[in-house]
């Protein structure tokens, strides 16, 4: 345990929460907005601090910045334990980056009842930072729910078309998923006989006394479907495109970009290392669902989308298929690829949602059939969108490439046939991605759009709009050209031998 009074993880969680509280207590609007900048920037800076110092600080049980605070449930093995290991660190940084970008976007959004909106977003950010910084599984789940509840409210109140229906559907699906995974987590805790509900204690006790493979398989199934619903595993994915289509931009960025990774993170950090024998019987089912469901079926559905946000929503469901494929392999290589892909996808999907709103502000429509030729008026927006699309497809130079590439290598050992289909999925994703960019930005403007744009020609991205996009795109390129910046820490965990090597 570190005794340093400067605890970046706790600050990253507490700062947005404190700002949200201050706004909730009736701060005037001007000050609320100023303070909100601080609330969004602090986790960002803390995330950078954690990333910069990660390799240098001493690790306790494999976790850096480990601290513990009693909250009154110590008797049942629950304390607020914060720390990041090599897998949590990249996601913690991702949450800080996307949170900052989403916050900037929200502050500039001019939403109705802006104070409440910012407050909810700050609570959500606090939950996100906490999720990936928690070592204790109670708080891991707790912070996830803390981030999830504001999502429902934001979709229901500030959302677009079908917002109430979308909010309701998301709530029910995600509650079901969360409850199943909670049951799985409790099952591990109780069955292991550990005295503490944290990853370190569980890892140690289960390494010494593994559970019977039958009960491992049962618990793994609970976690797989619980987390699977949360990550939109086919066929339990229908909440995702609907919800993202309706969600306000910043919410969609944070949910699709970061919060959804909770499920994958749980599978990687908890299910695979703690229940190694339980993962084996589920591997083929998971891989099949991921490739034929998420990648092929949802990929084809994505092709048919006309609405930009729906398309991004479906494409994010599709890309989760690659992540599931990596988990299905269950090997250290596959897991490493998934972590890279999680970071890359989080950045790229958040960027796409951000840009889609910028497009909407200029065209007042999200229907791609009614757009065209926007690149002439907004070349920088076009450049950003095209770059984001390239990243999302997985072209080299962007972070996504490393994630997908590693997963394919791992999957090739697992099953040749599935890998072929998965790689073919890339073609699908190139078709819909490039076609969307072409339809929105190039070609001739549609009659309706030309008429609307004639009165008030759309402008290009202003600097305040560029800043969040630049942060996300910059991070994508940074990791794309220098993957060691995060893969080194991931490798530190993978080399401890808690994942299979073949």
């Amino acid at each position: 345990m570190t005794t340093d009074p400067f605890d970046p993880l706790l600050i990253a969680i507490a700062a947005p929460l404190a700002v949200a509280l201050a706004i909730g207590l009736g701060l005037p609007k001007r000050w609320s907005v100023r303070l909100a900048y601080l609330g969004f920037a602090t986790p960002f800076l803390m995330a950078l601090h954690v990333w910069w110092h990660y390799s240098a600080v001493p690790k306790v049980h494999g976790y850096a910045f480990l601290t513990e605070h009693a909250t009154g449930l110590s008797g049942v093995g629950i304390t607020l334990e914060l720390g990041v290991n090599g897998i949590a660190m990249p996601l913690f940084v991702l949450a800080g980056l996307v949170g900052f970008a989403a916050g900037l976007c929200a502050i500039r959004s001019g939403a109705e009842r802006l104070k409440v909106y910012l407050m909810l977003l700050l609570v959500m950010l606090s939950g996100l930072m906490g999720t990936f910084a928690s070592v204790n599984l109670f708080f891991f789940y707790f912070f996830h729910e803390l981030a999830l509840i504001p999502t429902f409210i934001m979709v229901g109140v500030w959302g677009g078309r079908d917002r109430v229906y979308a909010a309701m559907k998301m709530t029910i699906y995600l509650t079901a998923g969360a409850m199943l995974s909670l049951l799985g987590l409790i099952a591990i805790y109780v069955k292991s006989g550990a005295r503490r509900f944290d990853m370190i204690a569980l890892r140690d006790i289960l390494a010494a006394h593994p559970l019977a493979s039958g009960s491992q398989a049962h618990i793994f199934g609970l976690l797989l479907f619980g987390f699977g619903i949360l990550v939109a595993l086919w066929p339990m994915h229908t909440w995702a495109p609907l919800g993202y289509g309706a969600a306000p931009t910043s919410t969609a960025m944070l949910h699709a970009g970061v919060l959804k990774k909770f499920g994958l993170y749980g599978l990687i950090q908890i299910a695979l290392p703690l229940l190694p024998a339980g993962a084996l019987p589920w591997g083929h089912l998971l891989a099949g669902l991921a490739v034929f469901g998420n990648i092929v079926v949802v990929g084809l559905i994505t092709l048919a989308q006309r609405d930009v946000k729906q398309m991004i929503g479906y494409s994010s469901v599709m890309h989760m298929g690659y992540a599931f494929l990596g988990i299905a392999c269950g090997t250290a290589l596959g897991v490493g690829g998934v972590v890279l892909l999680m970071v890359a996808h989080g950045l790229s999907v958040a960027l796409l949602f951000l840009l889609s709103t910028n497009i909407w502000q200029r065209t007042r429509t999200l229907d791609m059939d009614e757009m065209g030729g926007l690149a002439r008026q907004a070349p920088i927006l076009a450049a950003f969108f095209t770059a984001a699309t390239f990243a999302s497809i997985g072209l080299p130079g962007f972070a996504n490439f490393w994630g997908e590439f590693t997963i394919f290598v791992a999957a090739w050992k697992f099953s040749h046939c599935l890998t072929v289909f998965a790689v073919l999925g890339i073609v699908l994703s190139a078709v819909y991605g490039l076609r969307a960019a072409a339809r929105i930005f190039f070609g001739e403007p549609s009659v309706a759009f030309a008429r609307a744009a004639g009165d008030q020609p759309p402008t290009d991205l202003s600097w305040t709009e560029r800043l969040p996009a630049l942060i996300l795109l910059g991070a994508l390129l940074f990791v794309g050209f220098w993957p060691q910046s995060i893969s080194q820490s991931i490798q530190g965990v993978l080399q401890t031998g808690i994942y299979r090597t073949h």
């Binding site: 008797g75 049942v76 409850m179 109780v190």
Partner: protein, 500 residues
């Protein structure tokens, strides 16, 4: 019986240990006397006096709280003085204070008498305190009847409303039936435990200790089993567990809102503490019978409560049925408590979380109800968040906590009960509980949706006028909401007291 025996009995009477009950009784009598003595125009102040008196008792109770000491039997085994009992006193006092405060709001719109409402609530509260401390079936029955008779009056308090009268009649019939069942069960246990042909027979077969010893010596006695099932049925009526829940929606709808609150929280809480005590002490040798019976009951209660609540639009019926489902979750905790000590603390925590959340919701309901107290629809809540952000926020916290959403206390309660149930190996029940939680999200969400997502408030003519929130109500409701949040984040001393 010679003098020394009487002296021994008198020496066992530890009057000091039940001072809160005595003070409540005296306060109730004082209110009645004041009503006679004071001129009519100053009667309006009497309820405030009742509230002040209870707050004073609560403060003294808090100051003199002595936790951790060993349990001891007082009044020659009629009562058991324990930490749990002291904590439940706080539970019931908070309930009765709340009911009195809410009574001020609700009674202001009615013509019913003001003072005796408070008197009865105080009496009921004192009886509830005795009920959870009883260590003897006689004590249990007498205090239970005091509670029930008080509720007969309270439920039908608005005598001019036909729905209220219907509720009163239903509660009377059902209450009498359940008391009959309970009494029959007690009589069977008393009879069989006094049978000199059986091993371990005892003359004191109504006291928990000797009765438990007898049951342990005869773990498969036929008559005792019937007696136990009847006792459980009698209690199941009080807590509204399936299949004895039929009275709940009608009675909850017809009863005045403060009474509904008291019925839903205090009466149910007492029922669970009694059940917990019985399951862990007297009925422990009959776990082979009690555990499957209560498990089945819990599963059916969770499913029934949640499914029936799905289609409700009247919020009083809705909260009643949601209360049925909570009874199911609590029953799961009680079942787990038969084998897992952790579950006892979990049930207590759940009860407190349920109290905070339910009272927050009931408080909002009382302020939104019109002259017709029985007719409160979810559509009346449209635009609440915009018109009155305070009530909107309290409602959201209350419903969120009932739904078991972090960071609210209800989540920690559910979590602890789930962990306890897992330790006890109740996998089937857990599966049902998970399904129940997911279903419950739908109707809680529907209610929040009405308050938050509905675009605009219906025109004032279409819904009852909302009562402005007074200071006492504001303090209490704000306190409940805040406590729900704090207890969800930091359990601190309570967590330590529950001592897992």
């Amino acid at each position: 019986m010679d003098l020394s025996a009487l002296q021994n009995i008198a020496a066992g009477n530890d009057w000091g240990a039940i001072w809160p009950e005595i003070s409540l009784g005296c306060l109730a009598l004082a209110l009645l006397i004041l009503e006679i003595v004071l001129p009519r125009k100053s009667h309006g102040r009497i309820p405030a006096l009742a509230i002040a008196g209870q707050v004073a008792i609560l403060v003294v109770l808090g100051l003199t709280f002595c936790g951790g000491g060993p349990d001891r039997e007082i009044f020659n085994g009629l009562l058991r003085h324990s930490t749990g009992g002291q904590v439940m006193r706080v539970f019931f006092l908070v309930s009765s204070i709340f009911a009195c405060v809410l009574g001020q709001v609700t009674l202001a719109r009615q013509t019913a008498p003001r003072v005796e409402f408070n008197t009865i609530i105080l009496t009921v509260s004192a009886a509830l305190m005795l009920l959870v401390q009883s260590n003897h079936f006689l004590m249990l029955f007498v205090s239970l009847e005091t509670v029930t008779v008080g509720f007969y009056i309270l439920v039908s308090y608005f005598r001019t409303s036909s729905l209220t009268l219907e509720a009163g009649l239903k509660y009377l019939i059902m209450g009498a039936l359940s008391s009959g069942l309970l009494l029959f069960g007690i009589a069977l246990l008393y009879g069989v435990a006094g049978n000199r042909l059986l091993p371990g027979h005892t003359a004191e077969s109504l006291r928990y200790g000797p009765l438990a010893a007898f049951l342990a010596a005869n773990p498969h006695n036929y008559v005792a089993s019937i007696g136990i099932v009847l006792v459980l049925s009698g209690i199941a009526f009080k807590i509204g567990a399936f299949p004895f829940q039929i009275w709940i929606p009608d009675v909850y709808q017809g009863a005045p809102t403060p009474v509904t609150a008291l019925l839903a929280v205090a009466s149910k809480g007492a029922g669970f503490v009694v059940l917990l005590t019985l399951v862990r002490t007297v009925l422990a040798p009959y776990a082979w019978l009690v555990v499957p019976a209560l498990s089945g009951m819990a599963a059916a209660t969770i499913l029934f409560g949640n499914l029936a609540a799905l289609t409700q639009h009247n919020v009083k019926r809705l909260i009643g049925l949601s209360g049925v489902s909570h009874a199911g979750f609590l029953l799961m905790g009680v079942v787990a408590a038969a084998s897992t000590p952790l579950a006892v603390g979990a049930v207590y925590f759940y009860l407190f979380a349920y109290l905070l959340a339910s009272f927050a919701v009931f408080g909002v309901m009382a302020h939104l109800a019109g002259a017709n107290d029985a007719d409160q629809e979810t559509s009346d809540y449209a635009g609440l968040a915009k018109d009155n952000p305070f009530l909107g926020a309290v409602l959201a916290v209350g419903l969120g906590s009932l739904a078991g959403i972090p960071p609210l206390a209800g989540f920690v309660g559910k979590f602890l009960v789930f962990v306890a149930a897992f330790r006890a190996g109740l996998y089937g029940l857990l599966a049902v509980a998970i399904a129940g939680v997911v279903i419950s999200i739908y109707y809680y969400f529907g209610w929040i949706k009405a308050a938050y997502f509905a675009p605009d408030s219906p025109p004032a003519g279409d819904r009852p006028a909302r009562t402005p929130v007074g200071l006492a109500a504001k303090l209490m409701l704000g306190g409940f909401a805040l406590a729900s949040v704090i207890l969800g984040l930091y359990q601190g001393p309570i967590g330590r007291w529950l001592a897992w």
